[in-house]
């Protein structure tokens, strides 16, 4: 049944808003743990824990740069981001499809201006 254990790990990793925000930040480019910790008002160990989960899920990778270990998105992470943007688009499009209906309902009343 469970063909891909990594898929489960990915979904679990994405279920946390901080981790989603970390991925959104990494979508802008590589970042160190310190840079990642800054906007979240979290300690570096707390962020490191999130990074570990994301790494184990195959969503981010790290490289060695002297004493630093900057993180960047893994290919799967990028694909996940694309999927999210598509879903955000969908939510926005949903609004505007409703607006189309609102406008269509307004139209008859507006014809020939009062």
């Amino acid at each position: 049944m469970s063909a891909s254990p990594n898929l489960n790990a990915s979904f679990a990793a994405l279920a946390d808003p901080t981790r989603r925000a970390i991925l959104a930040r990494l979508a802008l480019g590589e970042a160190t743990v310190m840079e990642l910790a800054r906007p979240f008002e979290m300690t570096q160990p707390a962020i490191s824990q999130h990074l570990k989960v994301l790494e184990e899920a195959g969503l981010i990778v790290q490289r060695v740069d002297g004493t630093k270990r900057p993180r960047r998105l893994a290919k799967a992470g990028i694909e996940a981001m694309d999927q999210w943007l598509a879903m955000l688009r969908k939510a926005v499009e949903k609004n505007y499809e409703r607006l189309d209906e609102v406008l269509a309902a307004m139209e008859p009343n507006r014809k020939g201006k009062r």
């Binding site: 802008l28 999210w84 943007l85 879903m87 949903k94 505007y96 189309d100 209906e101």
Partner: protein
């Protein structure tokens, strides 16, 4: 109908988000649908399953905005804002912030309505204070957008 192709949503520079959408109705109608709370309440709801029980929208310079959303599970959040400038029926400039529950940094939003054939081309240009705020905002929007798919996912597992 290829309605999906009508919408564009993209980032611009470090701090902007740009949304464009064509509407069949003329600019006057689209403008009114953005400035009449009774109309706003009917469409600005995001993903399926949310309603807007509170919709205050005082469309004049300095006028206040307050939108409150909730879903059937009792989850909710709200947004406040102020109108900065309005030019009927072509332009609305306002600022807004979400409370999640702490206020997010101000999102400065310029909405333009231009005639496009017999309809309207609407351009929404959002400006966030910095790149990280924008990233966080996109992530939050994604989070809301994702909810519906999570529900579907749960029913599939």
């Amino acid at each position: 109908m290829t309605t999906m192709t009508k919408l564009t949503l993209k980032t611009e520079g470090d701090t902007h988000i740009l949304v464009t959408r064509h509407f069949a109705a003329p600019p006057e109608a689209v403008y009114r649908a953005h400035t009449d709370p009774k109309l706003v309440q009917q469409w600005m709801l995001g993903p399926e399953g949310w309603t807007m029980p509170v919709c205050e929208n005082d469309a004049r310079p300095g006028g206040k905005i307050r939108y409150e959303w909730k879903n059937s599970k009792g989850d909710g959040f709200f947004l406040t804002g102020e109108f900065l400038a309005l030019k009927p029926y072509s332009k609305i400039v306002h600022v807004e912030r979400m409370y999640l529950p702490d206020p997010t940094p101000d999102n400065h939003v310029e909405t333009h309505f231009e005639p496009d054939g017999t309809g309207t081309l609407m351009t929404v240009r959002m400006t966030l204070p910095d790149a990280q705020t924008r990233a966080a905002m996109l992530a939050t929007g994604m989070e809301r957008g994702m909810e519906a798919s999570y529900v579907r996912l749960e029913s599939m597992i």
